[in-house]
Structures are given as C-alpha cells and as structure tokens.
Amino acid sequence: MAASASPDLECELVVLGAGPGGYSAAFRAADLGMRTVLVERYPTLGGVCLNVGCIPSKALLHTAFIVDAARALAAHGIAFGEPKLDLAKLRASKDKVVGKLTGGLAAMARGRKVAVVQGSGRFVERNRLEVETAQGKQAVRFAAAIIAAGSQSAKLPFLPDDPRIVDSTRALELPAVPKRMLVIGGGIIGLEMGTVYSTLGARLEVVELLDGLMTGTDRDLVAVWQKFNAARFDRVMLGTKTAKAEAVKEGIRVWFEGGQAPGEPQLYDMVLVSVGRTPNGKRIGAEQAGVAVTERGFIETDSQMRTNVPHIYAIGDIARPPLLAHKAVHEGHVAAQAAAGLKSHFDARVIPSVAYTDPEIAWVGLTEEQAARDGARVSVAKFPWSASGRAIANARDEGFTKLVFDAETHRIVGGGIVGAGAGDLISEIALAIEMGADAVDIGRTIHPHPTTSESIGMAAELFEGVCTDLPPARKK
C-alpha cells in the first residue's frame, strides 16, 4: 500500500453516486442514524438530474413556454414584437437555478453529517471502495453499500468528434443557437431539447429508427403533441437510420438510409444525439465486490433493492428501467431503510412518466395497447379538453384526459393526459391507482372549477355515463 494513502474512512453505509436516488438514500440513512458516506464524481451533488438533466432542461423549457405564450398573445390583441435573445444571460439564469438547488443539497448533507467524498469510486473488495480524489486515493470501508451510479448518454460510434455534435448535457450549456438542427433519436429528451432550441429560433429535423416519435407512449397522446408542434419541424424522418456524418466547415453533413431518408445528405449547424442512456454498471468495479452486472450494464435486485451480494444494494438508473429520477428516489429510500434493518420493500404499483414538451404528455399505469397485449379487459374514457372551460379560457384546448379502467371492477388501472401542465395533473391518477380507486370514487371526488384537473373527474363521470359537460351519448 502506498505510504501516502490516507487512512480508510469507516462507515456503516456508503452511497456511490449523489444523484436524486443517491442523495435521497444517503439522507434517509443518516436520518435513521447510520454513519453515512456519499461518494460523488462531480463537485456538486444532485447528479445528472439537477446538474445536466431534469432541472436545467425545465428552466429552459419554462423560458421557451413563456416566449411561445407571449407570441400567442398577439391573437388576443397584445403584441410584444420579436423577442431579443441574450444567450449568455439565459445561460446564467439557468445556472442560477441549478446552483440554488445543488447549494441547498450541500447544506442538507452537512446538516445531516453525511460525509461527502468527491471523486470516482470503484469497489476493490466486498467491504471496501476506493475513491480517486483530487488529493489521491481514499479508501472507504463500509458495512453496507448502495450503488446509485446512474447512467450516461449512449453514443453513436460513427459520429465524428466535433463541438457541433452534442449530447443532452452539452446542449443544455446553450453553446449557440443553430439555424438548422438535427435531433437523432425521437425520444423525450431529444424532443424536449428540440423544443427549447426551436423556440430560440432553430429549424428542427428529427430522425428516428423506429416508426414513431416517443415510442412507448400512447399514440393518441403523441398525436396531439405532434399536430401542435408540426410547424417546428422541417422534416420528421421515421424508420430512418443515420448512416454517416462528416464535419465540414459549413456544418455537419449527415447521410440517412431507409424509411423517409431524403435523397441527398443534409447539412446542419448542430446535431443533438439523444439515442437513449446506458447504465454505468460496468464502470464501478462491481465484480471486485462480487456484484453481478448484466450484459447491458444493469445491476439486478430484489424488492428491497438488494443485489446478489446481501449487504450491497443498487437503485435508480443502474438497477432497472424506467430511468426516472422519481423512481430512483423511492428506490433510494427503500434501500436505505432496508440497510438500516427495516422491512422496507419497493411495492409501488405504478411509476408515472412525463414528457415536458409543449403540450406536456403524462401517463401512468396500463395503456390500452399494453392491456390488449396482456389480455387484460379494460375500458377507456376520454375527456377532450375542448369541453373544458379552463382549457378554452387558456386558449390551450388541444389536449385530452384519458382514463383506463378494469372492465369488470371499474377500478382505475391507467391514465394519460396531453395538454399544458399535464405533468402536474398525472399524480392524481397515480394516487387513485395506488389506492385502488374506481370510476365512481374519482367522479365523486369534487374537482375545483374551472381547472384542467377537472378533466380527470369528468373522464371518470364519462365512464360511468353521468357526465353532463359533453353532448349526450348516442343511444345504440
């Protein structure tokens, strides 16, 4: 052992990774009285979500939403003229949001006496982790460990190394506003970033290997978003492969194949690669601790988030899909509680998802499509926002609220909402599913008028045949 090595840190629990799952696990464990060490590669806590993901993207999406809303006011007789963009100031305001949150986290860690060690951590033994810090190697000896090392953007190996080819992290730094922007991968992250850049002035093109945008999301919901946003896109290439790219002086030249590929290669000022995320399971020396990692880099666990090694847990992106911060936080709490000896299990029935596009798309539980595939008999009620007073007053009545019920018991098993603020409405449906509510329960819960949340109560009433905000059902 090197003479300069500092003495081992001893702790009851080490948490590897300080993203939402990791810091939640560490804080919960500390609150339960465990001596806890939190290892984080970057100088700030909060991981991808706070630093280069959910939060900064929402700061920018909020800005974009207001810009679009201000433009739309022209139709109401109030015109502001063309917005003037100061990119440096926008960047600074976004960084301020991030700084406020990560600063708050650091203070909370101190308040809980959670020791933060900065550097990349790797397991070296079943009970020992080594952190590569700025000051040299620091070993951490632990009784229990929670792996919360997250995921990273997947890369396309054939793309050249060029500052104009960016991933979501780089795109959030707002290096420039391109004239023509290509988004490779039509998933949620790509389309959220596309929305921001398009509002700032970029013309968008998107290429997707599969046959739809936001695959895995109810087509009905996506269709509304797509119609509303059609004007942002010069080209939507579905079932199309990105074959080759070349960095030239004037831009990035990209060749496409199959599907809706244009005949000619196209030239872009910026290319955003958003083709999914890869779990970091293979980058933390898991094998040294005997922890099994799957081919794809996930670490499998039981319902207590315990890996094949009983004193080591895994949570968040590295454990299993869906790769969502709110799922990681719940898993983090379960793992911390289990490590503290409590009988804690992850038994949430559903995990909601939100695309923070404009309009937002949010869904939870079973979709009709999944139900059909699983052979579950369900029945659906869809309340159009064109019948919602509030949505009309907001001049945003393009959305709808859809509830999926078990055909026999009328218990709610899923729901989807597309419309402004859908992400803030979906929780009611998630709660109803967890509580085992049925259509009558939801319909008889009084929803305030006029709100878009009313649409959930009305969809339930529609299902029960007692809704009076729509034309009468035609007698069969």
């Binding site: 804690s344 038994d347 079973l366 218990r411 899923g414 085992g436």
Partner: protein, 409 residues
Amino acid sequence: MIEVLVKPGDEVAKEQSLITLESDKATMEIPSPEAGVVKELKVKLGDRVSEGSPIAILLTGEASQAEHPEPQAPMPEAAAPPPEPLGRPVPREPREAIVSKPHASPSVRKFARELGVDLARVSGSGPKGRILHQDVEGFVKGMMAGTPPASPPPLGKGGIGGVNFKLAPWPEVDFAKFGPIEVKPLSRIQKLSGPNLHRNWVSIPHVTQFDEADITELEAFRKANTAETERRGFKLTMLAFLVKACVTALRQYPQLNASLDKSGESLVIKKYFHIGVAVDTPEGLVVPVIRDADRKGVFDLAKELADVSRLARERKLRPGDLQGGSFSISSLGGIGGTAFTPIINAPEVAILGVSRAAMRPVWNGADFAPRLMLPLALSYDHRVIDGASAARFTSYLASVLSDIRKSLL
C-alpha cells in the same frame, strides 16, 4: 402450483394436463379445455391460484397456425385472431398485476410488510372491500389467538396457537463432525403435514386410552366372506369392519364425533359420520375421508377403502376427498406393534389407533382360551372428553368388535 407440464409453443390436446395444483395434501392436474398451441403461460411454479385464475393463453384452430409463422415472414399482429384465454376451473379474464393485487393502500401495504402479513389472506372491511389498517391488525390478532398460521415459527422460537413456550433454542449440531451424513429434503406431504401435526400435538391436551377387543369371531366371519369380495375384485379387510364398529360406537358416544367451536365454549356435535382413514403412501401419510360411513355396508366400505388407498398412492386424491372428517382411524395392524399413541387430527376430538391383532391366552372363567386380541388406542381431547367417557367408548367399541351383530342394533 407445483408443476408446469407445458411451455409456450407446445401443442396440447383437449384434456391434456397443463399444470399440477396442490391443495392440502391433494394434487390435481388441470386439463386443457381445448386443443391448440400454448401461446403464453400466465402462471409460474409456486404461484397460488384459485378458481378463475388464468393459466395460459391457448391458440385454438386457425389461430395456432397464424402464430407459427415462417421465421422470415413474421405475421402482423392483426392477422392472429384474438387469443383465447384459457383455464379451469373457471377461466376467462386474465388480469394485469395492478388489477389482481389485494385492494389496499400503500400505507396498509407497508404495515403488512412490517408484520409479514400476506394481504392476499386478509379480507377487507373498508368501502368496496378495501383492506384497512385495522383489518391487518385484526388478522394478526386472530393469528395470535389461535387461528393457526400457515407455517409455524421456527423450532424453539415458541408462539404456536397462542402458546408461548419460551423454549430453549434448538440444539445446533454439525452432524458431519461425527460421521458421514446425507441431507434429504422432506417430502411435500411431510412438509405440509408437519406444521399441522406440531400444532395439534402442542395445542390439544392428549390422553390415550388403551383397550383390547376379542375379534376371534369377527376374524372368522371376515374370512368366511372374503371369497365373495375377491370375486368382486377387492379385499374384505378388518379395517372395513373397524369403520363400521366405530360408527356404531360414535352413535352411542356422540361427543367423540364432534369439534370444539371457535370460541372454545361449545361443542359442535356432528350428525354425520365421515371417517378419516390414515393411508401410508410413498410420499407420506394422507387421511382420505369415507363419507357417510353410517349409511354404507361393510362390502361398500371395503371397496371404497380399497379405492381411496389406491388413489392416495397414485396421488390422485382431490382436495374434497381429504376434507370434512369427523373421526379418524389410524391402523398399523398390517405392519406390527403392540400399541401407539396417535395424534388427534384437529378439529376432530378423537382418533383410534389400531395395532396388530395377536393370539393371546384369555381367561374365560374356567380356562385360558386362545383368543385373537386386537389392541386399540384411543387418543382424545381431554378438554372435550373425560377419562370415564373414553374408557366407556373403547370398551363399548371392543364389545361391538367381539360381536359385530351389535352394529345392527
């Protein structure tokens, strides 16, 4: 579910067995209602299923061909007719996990986890059958008060049937230290009956009454009639006469054909005579029940005993065959021994153990005469039956066996 006999892609014939279920000590194979191809199994080994649980999706007729496309030419989804959900006892309605889980909120699920309560076993008293916090509490209280848990706490930890023995820990011995050993898992039936036997043994105050019956005449009578039953294809066993004689004695002493009610304050006297008969099988001991033994002749009883013994050995008993007994007989007469103390089959209150009959010199007042004597051992629940009643019962039973004509009276 203890066995899956098919896998996705298998072709099955109508009535071909799909899975094997086990309940109490019976196993039952579930046949396919239709011929076709198994598309998807909806159950896995170890699942608890009940009437209405979907077992598999079976594609019938043309559908199965559509599901077997050439590898290069996958059929579009829409080309396959809707799969037929399948299953018996009552099929239909495959359910998604969200739907089929117990109706309980997250806080109640958490509470149940902490107490180790399986919510599937708790009935809900909330609106629409929702399981409430107090339902879980009530379930646990019920368990503590003596409703038996599904599996007993580990040996030495006490707490069976509301009794906390505070026992010393079970000795831990490394047997291999003393010589070669082999570890062999208990059979399924042993694993299932062990906890029940343990419960019955520690929670019922057992007393065993011994007696002897002179069956010299009965044995002669039995032998004289064996030719007739053998012609009909079964043996006329002493056990058939024992069942008959027990029914006669139970009529006379009905408190032995009874159970304590749940409160422990009243006796439920049964007006029917369903006699459980312990049968030794390679898998372990099972106790099929001969129903309405009072309404059957000895030939019928002998035939039925032969049938259930065969079914037990072939593991083909149905759960109903093992339920509803009001009194049990365990006969080791065919094997040997002079006496033993059987364990009561709760909630029954008595069990008759029978050992091997032997010729004994019996004083008839003038001489020692050679008589064929059958040893009887009646274990009874002393909370229900007092010693005098038990002794009266066995001596009356012995008198019936020594003169079987009494069963006609």
